[in-house]
């Protein structure tokens, strides 16, 4: 009940915020603008539109997760709205989970709208939208949930600007975790190698959630892979949320 109240309020705040519409506008522009790239690569326009639509879903979703997520808790402390909330007879974790669920609902709406618009546009151009396209959108959403959990953890620990930088780095390195493992030979038997390997295992491999190329080129992806990736994301998300709850539990506000 209390978690839902906080979640609904978070959702309402974002819905009444102009930034969301600005981001959605640019996302729509990038989907419709993708046709321009399609003209350059003759005969590939449907693939390009699908590819760019899924990419813009990921990029704009991440922007929302970073900008909204990293300021979510911090802003409440800064503006002192939190004072009257956590002095209520509620658990602090209810606040964190409510905030997370609210932001999750916003991302769900954003991804659904963008998927709908992209699918409509592909069909308008005479292409077909198959199950894989929607699965690619689902995995993108799943990745956003993981990033949001990390953003909320950062929000409980640090300022929005520093938090946004850290989450952005997390996003970039999460897409390129391989660089921590594929090290040149002169790293062999060094402390740096062990540290970088540690980072490889610590940072989630966000590239796992990316089946954009397969969706655009209609290359089959196994159901087992999809299920494994969903479970992988859910576990990481739960772990990050647990850390966010623990960080917030002890925090002086």
């Amino acid at each position: 009940m209390r978690i839902i109240a906080v979640a609904q309020n978070t959702f309402r705040e974002a819905i009444r915020d102009k930034v969301l519409y600005v981001l959605l506008f640019f996302a729509a522009v990038s989907i419709f603008g993708s046709k321009a790239l399609g003209w350059i690569s003759i005969g590939q326009d449907i693939k390009i539109v699908k590819d760019i639509s899924l990419a813009s879903m990921s990029v704009f979703g991440v922007l929302i997760a970073i900008f909204v997520g990293t300021s979510l808790v911090y802003k409440e402390i800064d503006k002192r709205t939190l004072y009257t909330i956590i002095s209520q007879p509620m658990h602090r974790f209810e606040f964190i989970l409510g905030k997370y669920l609210g932001l999750m609902a916003i991302l769900a709406v954003v991804v659904t709208v963008m998927t709908g618009v992209a699918a409509f546009y592909v069909m308008l151009l005479g292409g077909e939208v198959d199950r894989l396209f929607f699965l690619a959108a689902l995995l993108t959403f799943w990745k956003l949930l993981l990033i949001t959990a990390f953003a909320i953890l950062m929000s409980a620990l640090t300022s929005p600007i520093l938090g946004a930088l850290i989450v952005f780095s997390f996003y970039v390195f999460g897409h390129a975790t391989g660089i921590f493992l594929d090290l040149p030979p002169h790293f062999d038997d060094t402390v740096a190698k062990h540290i970088l390997e540690g980072i490889y295992y610590l940072i989630p491999n966000l590239a796992n959630f990316d089946i954009r190329a397969e969706a655009a080129n209609e290359v089959a992806v196994s159901g087992a892979y999809i299920l494994w990736t969903l479970a992988y994301g859910a576990l990481y998300t739960a772990f990050l949320l647990l850390l966010a709850i623990l960080a917030f539990e002890e925090k002086d506000v």
Partner: protein, 320 residues
Amino acid sequence: MEAIVTQNLSKDYKQVGKATVHSLRDLNLQVGEHEVFGFLGRNGAGKTTTIKLLCSLIKPTSGGAQVFGENVRTRAARRLIGYLPEQPYFYEYLTPRETIDFYGRLQGLDATARRNEWDKLAELLDLGEIADRRIKGFSKGMRQRVGFAVAMVGDPPLLILDEPMSGLDPIGRRQIRELMLHLRDQKKTLFFSSHVLGDVEQVCDRVGILVQGRLTRTGRIDMLLGTECAGVEVVAAGLDDATQKALAGRAERYHVVEDHIFFVAPDQEVANSLVRDIHRLGGRLVEYTPMKETLEEYFMREQDNGNAATPDTQAQEAAS
């Protein structure tokens, strides 16, 4: 049962590379049920820290506190407290009606109970006209009324108010003062901080004075002020210039209005000696008025004593 009890409640703030700030030191306080308690102190004295500790926004470094016997760190305690922060902020995109509904939900009230709460609070705090306007454009006075409404959702027996009159215009202050008196009549326990002494004098049963994180005095205002004589005004007539000047040496100050001479003696002993001499030198006693200290004078004296008593805190403040 006492509404608030604290035992050696302390809060330190440690900062890397800076001296530790002792925001509150060993606070031992009891506030009785149905009492209106004013917590006085200058900015930075530790008033807000105490309130945040009571509302469990921050954790004590040592010591503890209970409200109506419940540890303040528990949800059971928070159910008994209505809290108004200094210059309260609420979600700007919500209206007062939505705000009260939201806090009602956080308290676990069902829809009917929330509607009833709104009706009751809107009438008491005159929120009807602004019920469906977004808080974004509200004045400080309007926000304060919404703040009181939020603090009173769920009808808690204890209200903790942080500077409830700060930043308000005279009309706003009067409204809040009247509201506090109304709540006192409703047998609520009120604990509030302030540095506006006139307001405190008008609504409080008892006050506590906090100087640099230490509670230096608590008591009923009349008792605190009654223990100290702030001087005696002695008005005389029929004294020539030379006599006036001779007697004035013993007074703290004096002035002449037509044929009346006003002496202010520091205490009754000096005043009595002045009276004897006025009679002896052929003058006439017109008035003899022992003066009581005002709360402001008392407060200032406590500040000075407190500052002298805790030089280490001054050094720490200077260091930080």
